[in-house]
């Protein structure tokens, strides 16, 4: 006897099968989930996240890193750093993952149309910005100059390397990559990612900046962008906190008056700026 699909509600994960697993770096991997059975069809906006449930282990908040224009596959890129994410790393094609979402705020792409766009990612901060790149490439005429700046610890720690090379070759957007440390065989830049902002053709007066990465990096990035003439009101950041319930109930991800899971993860920079310098936030 066939059973009715489980309802997708606030705290009940919906089981999805892994369609593909790809290793990105030594500790980072990408899984594509088959969303064919998602009740009503699954859609998300770039910047949003899901709670992924490794059965028997627990949940973790993971940004969607896939193409919003390909609704059949739900893609997440995950760094294996804790119990849940290591359990997810052990799963293979065909295994089930519990999913609930999407949650949170999205990058303000509609507002960015008609102007330039600067995307800056540090480390795995590229994952929540990757859907933005897909969206921009699909609707290229809606945007002016677009630059993607990516920083990583080493060339080996750089996620989506082939894709970055392809985007750079294609030339629709400006792509600059830098690493903190490299040997003489590395052809890219060595240094911090905020410094790359000076090397791209984006007009600060008509551009929006979307930033995602470690918060220290975000602070340095804001200083660099301000020096170039970016208005704070045009800078948006995606933050990461200990998101447990994802619906603004548990309070684990509280940042001042905001819950990162519900009011974020994408925030206007001005809204979170005071908390960047708060010792306990």
């Amino acid at each position: 006897m066939a059973t009715a699909p489980l309802p997708v509600c606030g705290l009940v994960p919906h089981p999805l099968r892994i369609a593909q697993v790809r290793r990105e770096t030594v500790d980072t991997f990408t899984i594509a989930l088959d969303v064919a059975g998602w009740p009503g069809g699954y859609t998300f906006a770039p910047g949003q996240f899901n709670m992924l449930y490794a059965f028997g282990m627990g949940e973790s908040a993971i940004s969607v890193s896939g193409d919003p224009g390909q609704p059949g596959r739900l893609v997440h890129t995950i760094r294996a750093v804790g119990t849940v994410t290591r359990a997810l790393q052990r799963l293979r094609r065909g295994a089930a993952v519990g999913v609930r979402g999407p949650y949170g705020t999205a990058w303000p792409l509609a507002d960015a149309e008609g102007g330039d766009l600067l995307l800056m990612a540090g480390g795995l901060g590229l994952a929540p910005l990757r859907p933005v790149v897909y969206h921009v490439l699909r609707h290229r005429a809606r945007f002016g100059a677009v630059a993607l700046l990516v920083g990583a610890r080493t060339p080996e720690a750089l996620p989506f390397r082939r894709e970055l090379a392809r985007w750079a070759r294609h030339g629709d957007i400006q792509v600059r990559v830098t690493v903190d440390r490299a040997g003489a065989d590395w052809r890219g830049a060595v240094g911090v990612v905020p410094a790359l902002a000076r090397d791209v053709r984006v007009s600060p007066g008509r551009a929006r900046a979307f930033l995602c990465g470690p918060e220290v990096m975000l602070r340095f990035a804001e200083r660099e962008l301000s020096a170039l003439g970016f208005d704070h009101a045009r800078i948006f950041v995606s933050l990461e906190r200990n998101m447990t319930c994802a619906i603004g109930h548990c309070g684990h991800c509280q940042l001042g008056p905001s819950f990162v899971c519900r009011d974020g993860p994408v925030f206007p920079y001005d809204r979170v700026r005071p908390f960047f310098l708060t010792r306990e936030a």
Partner: protein, 163 residues
Amino acid sequence: MAPGRDTGAAGLTLASALEAHAFLRGVPGDLVRRIATIAHEVSLPAGAFVIREGDDADRLYLIRAGAAALEVTMPGKPVVRLETLGPDDILGLSWMNPPHRWQFDARVVEPVTAIAIEAGPLRDWIRDDPRMGQAVAMRLVSQLQRRLERVRLQRLDVYGAEA
């Protein structure tokens, strides 16, 4: 002397190029023209060394195009790239203070076009002429501050610490 090709640009053109470089932007025209008398354009191909550790630090390079990487060589270990410098960056700070020897290698990553300024006269002018000293020394301090901030951010190893 580092390998390279001096393009022999006319003084006026060189002064314009100096004025357009971020490092000297806003410096009074007479000072820029004076600097132009001790400067020349240099083009370096990929793979060439701009400076070599231990050599005389006799020039300040203002990079106009391309990229060069600061490198350090340790016996028995692979070369480590410390930082890449590009358009509007300056390259070479060791000329400012004794012993006037380069502390690192700098190797061209993408073909570089730069303006090389003779360090000896520039150092004398900074010391002896308050206007030149104010204009150039403060810009050097500003560059040093920016570079120090970058190095500190690199040192934080933020990607290693992210969870």
